[in-house]
């Protein structure tokens, strides 16, 4: 039971994800991605370094940390967390390298064909840990648990569609039926089904906690989840239709419509939680989560035009979702979660024995707020630049995102080192920044009478 609420590898997942974030943004600044470039080799590499390396790894690491809290029991097969992380990082690197084959880099074809294997291993291990833990406590009876379980189903389908397309691009006949009609399904599964649905599930638990709002469901929530399930079912049906040689012409608009309805209902639910809060002045993480929710609404609004017109509309919709919605939410909560976990690791053994700081004292809220503001401004700028097809504007936005990400990385390191506390309030021995801490010993080991 000791330490069962702290996953040992959470910080390592976060660190790997942040490294991929910096790599993706660095390559975007150098011109690897931009308006109209998303189906080029470097464009796809940047996109997947971002979506898979940054967002997906961040989400998997968060779920591994969060699921035991949700399920009120230890994570099943927790020792698989490190192999899953290694496989996921390796698969992402292979996939990103593999996309360079599209621009004539010959060894890329083999990488593209092989990349789905480590990713299958990573997702399989994550499914085994998170899925088994939630199923064991019948997690589908809880709002958060059922959203995460549906998201895991989308993750499996995301892999099927992605692996099929990677094989087709590498020159194999397998998966050819998925090109190009499978692309919008793949995007909907990744951005909507997997990442957004799991973020929504986690938010059902975290938002009431951070806002001090009543932690209970509502009809709005049930209706939103029903729409999300319908959208997921339609996308899965579309994928099945394609694999069986059919088309998606009728299913895709319905899936987009159901997704937009689900987003609208979720935003109304988030507004309800916000208004029911008992904390008048929410902390930084919740204030910037509001900006993220704004981007979620924006990307849903762009969804219709993206479906009819494609091109710049689709690029802007996906960018607003990945960078504006999911990344802003993740970065804002990451600062909070890093300071909370660090506080628990360092100070919980000291409570009652010496004065301990408050959790928020571990963070420089003003500095973090400035970096988050830069991130949000650059995300808005990038969305606009994509809509306008203005490449220099996009590179400038990417530079802003890179600077904001670097600033937030620095802030997390400062939090882990307790640099915002005066030196005399820092314990001499701090846990490692990334690697797991060594296990703690119980305070005393003398015998106690049985049955006391």
């Amino acid at each position: 039971m000791i330490g069962k609420q702290l996953s040992r590898w959470t910080m390592a997942w976060f660190a790997a994800a942040l490294a991929f974030l910096l790599a993706a943004l660095g390559l975007a600044v150098l011109g690897g991605a931009g308006p109209g470039l998303w189906s080029s080799g470097p464009g796809l590499a940047v996109l997947h370094l971002f979506a898979l390396g940054w967002l997906c790894q961040m989400m998997l690491g968060s779920l591994i940390q969060f699921t035991p809290v949700l399920a009120a029991r230890p994570l099943a097969l927790a020792r698989l967390a490190l192999p899953a992380l290694l496989a996921c990082s390796l698969g992402t690197l292979m996939l990103a390298g593999g996309f360079l084959a599209l621009d004539g880099w010959e060894p890329g074809f083999a990488l593209l064909a092989a990349a789905p294997l480590p990713l299958a291993l990573a997702f399989g291990l994550a499914l085994a840990m998170v899925g088994a833990t939630l199923l064991a406590v019948r997690g589908w009876r809880q709002d958060a648990g059922r959203a995460v379980l549906a998201a895991l189903l989308a993750l499996a389908a995301l892999w099927v569609s992605g692996a099929g397309m990677a094989l087709a691009l590498s020159g194999s006949d397998t998966g050819m039926v998925l090109l190009p009609e499978g692309m919008p399904l793949h995007v909907l599964l990744g951005v909507g089904g997997w990442l957004t649905l799991s973020a929504i599930g986690v938010s059902y638990q975290l938002f009431p906690m951070f806002l001090l709002a009543p932690d209970r469901g509502s009809r709005l929530r049930d209706a939103g989840f029903a729409c999300a399930l319908l959208a997921l079912a339609l996308v899965l049906a579309g994928l099945a239709a394609l694999l069986l040689g059919g088309g998606t012409a009728r299913l895709l608009p319905l899936a987009v419509l159901a997704s937009v309805a689900a987003v609208a209902l979720y935003l109304a639910e988030a507004r309800r939680m916000w208004q029911a809060r008992r904390r008048p002045q929410p902390e930084l993480n919740m204030q910037w989560s509001r900006a993220a929710l704004g981007f979620l609404g924006l990307s849903a609004l762009l969804g219709g035009p993206a479906l009819w017109h494609g091109g710049a509309w689709a690029e802007a919709a996906v960018f607003a979702a990945l960078v504006g919605w999911l990344s802003t939410l993740t970065l804002a909560q990451m600062v909070k979660i890093a300071s909370f976990l660090t506080w628990i690791q360092v100070f919980s053994p000291l409570i009652g024995r010496r004065p301990v700081p408050m959790v928020h004292e571990l963070t420089d809220a003003r500095a973090a707020g400035r970096w988050l503001a830069l991130w949000v401004a650059a995300a808005a700028g990038g969305t606009a630049a994509l809509l306008a097809g203005f490449a220099p504007g996009f590179r400038l936005a990417a530079l802003g995102l890179l600077l904001a990400a670097l600033g937030l990385c620095r802030e997390v390191v400062l939090i882990r080192r307790l640099r915002h506390l005066a030196a005399d309030r820092r314990p001499a021995l701090l846990p490692p920044i990334i690697l797991p801490p060594s296990p703690r010993r119980p305070d005393h080991d003398h015998p106690r009478t049985a049955g006391a």
Binding site: M1, I2, G3, K4, Q5, L6, P68, V69, A72, R73, P74, A76, A78, M209, F210, L212, P214, D215, R216, R278, R279, F340, W343, I344, S348, P349, I351, G352, R353, V356, V359, P439, R440, R441, P442, D443, H444, D445, H446, P447, R448, T449, A450, G451, A452
Partner: protein
Amino acid sequence: MTIPEPLELDVRTPLARGEEPFSAIMAAVDSLLPGQPLRLITPFRPVPLFGVMANRGFGASDRLLQGGAWEVTFTPVVGAGPEAGLTPGSAAGAALWPDPARTLDLTGLMPPEPMVRILETLEAMAAGEVLFALLDREPMFLFPELAMRHHEWAGNFAADGASYRLMVRRGDGGGRG
């Protein structure tokens, strides 16, 4: 109903490496199926564990193996487990504890403030005294800390699910280390 095969855990190797086996043992206990015994192999007779496991509703039988190691089988005692509805990890005998010496209303506080208040209050109490606390949610990060300090606890959600009720009995010695 058939009794599941015991889960076996040998902690001699981690102990020889200087690692603390307690968390691995508790993780194994948490992963047991209903009714499943835990068979533990240790280099010495793990007396402190008997009390910990008795509180979680396990009886113990031990025997000395050839070579000096001990084999202890912890078997769940029917009817000794915590009442249905209590959070897993709750002490079995909580119904027999004395009336609370201290009561804390910790609703409306943001984590980890409830945990801080509970642990600070416990430090000022005498061994065996009971603290009652009312919370908004299950204090997930508190439970491991209570175990580390050898306090016992039992908790459950109120019938409407809107608040969580926690009883903690102050451990002996208080773990001041």
